[in-house]
């Protein structure tokens, strides 16, 4: 679906490349996450892939064709939602969708149904200037997918959303994946990445430092221990045990046999822990 080889990009007037030889491949029906702190090059790579930044070195192949050889028809096939709402503020939610929809060969037929999907149907005839950031982000999101694209680029898709609406958007992304759509997601939110992405790439200083499935990364970088919180003679206590030969660990067996257990957790590493461990950077 999307293949990137030795991608380099330098801004006009800059002394060094912002993207320094990036390689990755996204398969059809995959959600691929690009993770990194602010300034790591996440937005740059997205803007190069969607054609907003021209003059890259290396190769970007999308839909079996080099990116620079596409005309405007490329935008019939992709959907883009930026991390900030970009809408006609003086127009209503429905007008915002209708005007943009007319630029596509495959426009949606039922705008009310689209707005209903993101909980904006009751506000369809209200001007967007009165919307909260969350409402604007939901409208932004639905507008990006209304022409049924095969490949989508989402930049921080749940930014500014409350937990209920963030879940709504995450569920919609997963539904699209179920329909065979491909998603390129850039975020610094590791929880979102963990919940949605089939594979993630860590981007630091314009280079990919690690790329794998969240599960494989957690296995590789997590501590293979289990932590038990319990009450010992009425006093709260905590112990940690190696997972290997746990069934033969007498101390562990005594605790779970004779103490009141409050919680037991395996000590998986979070993606954030792994990121910090691998890159030495915090995600800000």
């Amino acid at each position: 679906m999307l293949s990137v080889k030795n991608l380099e990009y330098k801004y006009r007037g800059a002394k060094v490349n912002t993207l320094k030889g990036i390689d990755f491949r996204i398969h059809p029906g995959e959600i691929f996450g690009f993770l990194g702190p602010s300034g790591s090059g996440k937005t740059t790579i997205q803007r190069v892939l969607i054609g907003l930044l021209k003059g890259y070195n290396g190769s970007i192949t999308a839909f079996d064709k080099e990116r620079r050889d596409f005309g405007r028809d490329f935008y019939e096939k992709i959907g883009v939602a930026f991390d900030f709402p970009n809408l006609y503020l003086k127009l209503t939610a429905k007008e915002n969708l209708q005007l943009i929809a007319e630029y596509y060969q495959n426009p949606p037929k039922d705008f009310d149904a689209l707005l209903d999907q993101v909980g904006l149907l009751p506000d369809k005839d209200k001007k967007v200037e009165g919307f909260s950031k969350g409402m604007k982000m939901r409208l932004n999101f639905i507008r990006s997918i209304m022409h049924n694209p095969a490949l989508m680029f989402f930049d921080e898709p749940t930014s500014g959303l409350d937990p209920v609406n963030a879940k709504l958007i995450k569920d919609m992304i997963l539904t699209m994946k179920g329909e065979g759509k491909t998603v390129f997601l850039t975020t610094h939110n590791m929880t979102i990445a963990e919940q949605l992405c089939d594979r993630v790439a860590f981007l630091v200083d314009g280079q990919i430092s690690l790329c794998d499935t969240p599960y494989a990364l957690k296995l590789k970088y997590g501590r293979k221990t289990v932590k038990v919180d319990f009450l010992s003679c009425g006093t709260p206590d905590t112990s940690e045990f190696e997972l290997d030969q746990l069934s033969g660990n007498q101390q562990f067996l005594d605790i779970i046999s004779y103490s009141e257990i409050k919680s037991i957790h395996s000590q998986d590493a979070s993606l954030e822990d792994i990121f910090i461990k691998v890159t030495g950077r915090e995600l800000i």
Partner: protein
């Protein structure tokens, strides 16, 4: 089809942001002022100068406001990732603002100068002038991030536009300045209300038409590289 969609979108955007309301008020004001002036050479000159410096040039000012509003709302970024091409985007802006220019000019002239106007020539002339000034304003907006920055940047461009026009009053036989689009436009507009041989009108229209083509291509080039 995309161009028609863009035209609809621009008309709606300009209407909702009050561009048409503002210009209707301005046109009414001009009509009231011109109706107070007794008929004669002075009125014809005043009408020609008003039509040249305002309805014909409104695109120069309005395009800045429109593009800046689109930038502030992030719409320019989003349009760049839709199938709408830069040609369609620019053409739509030029056509909608030319419609406003022509309508305003015709209404002002109709209400204040009932006889002796070649309406077809007036329409074509204002159209050609409007295209030039809108694209000229569009070039100024590129690179500006705020409305204030835009207004600041317009000053030298406006001087560049108006200064050569004075030349035709000081040196009426200096023909070379007529090759400039603003001077050709001013002579054409003066001729609309004061009379001008058709050959001369045609020549100025040709000059303007050529400038329109040049500035359209230049706008596209600058827009694509920005």
């Amino acid at each position: 089809m995309r161009l028609i969609a863009a035209l609809k979108s621009d008309l709606k955007f300009q209407f909702k942001h009050g561009f048409y309301t503002v210009y209707t008020l301005i046109a009414v004001l001009y009509i009231i002022i011109l109706q107070k002036i007794p008929g004669g050479l002075f009125k014809d000159y005043t009408l020609a100068l008003i039509v040249f410096s305002d309805p014909a040039m409104l695109g120069f000012f309005f395009i800045g406001g429109i593009v800046m509003l689109e930038k502030q709302q992030g719409i320019l970024d989003y349009l760049a990732v839709t199938p709408l091409s830069p040609q369609e985007y620019i053409t739509s802006k030029v056509v909608t603002l030319a419609l406003l220019s022509v309508s305003a000019s015709v209404v002002i002239a109709l209400m204040t100068h009932l006889s002796g106007v070649n309406w077809l020539l007036l329409t074509i002339s204002i159209l050609a002038l409007s295209v030039f000034f809108t694209l000229y304003g569009f070039m100024v907006t590129l690179g500006c991030r705020t409305i204030n920055q835009y207004f600041f940047k317009t000053v030298p461009f406006l001087l560049l536009t108006t200064m050569p026009c004075f030349a035709i009053f000081i040196f009426p036989h200096l023909w070379i300045v007529s090759l400039l689009p603003n001077v050709a436009g001013l002579k054409l507009t003066l001729g609309l209300f004061l009379g001008l041989p058709w050959q001369e009108s045609l020549l100025y229209l040709l000059i303007l038409g050529l400038w329109d083509i040049v500035i359209y291509k230049l706008s596209l080039k600058v827009h694509s590289s920005s």
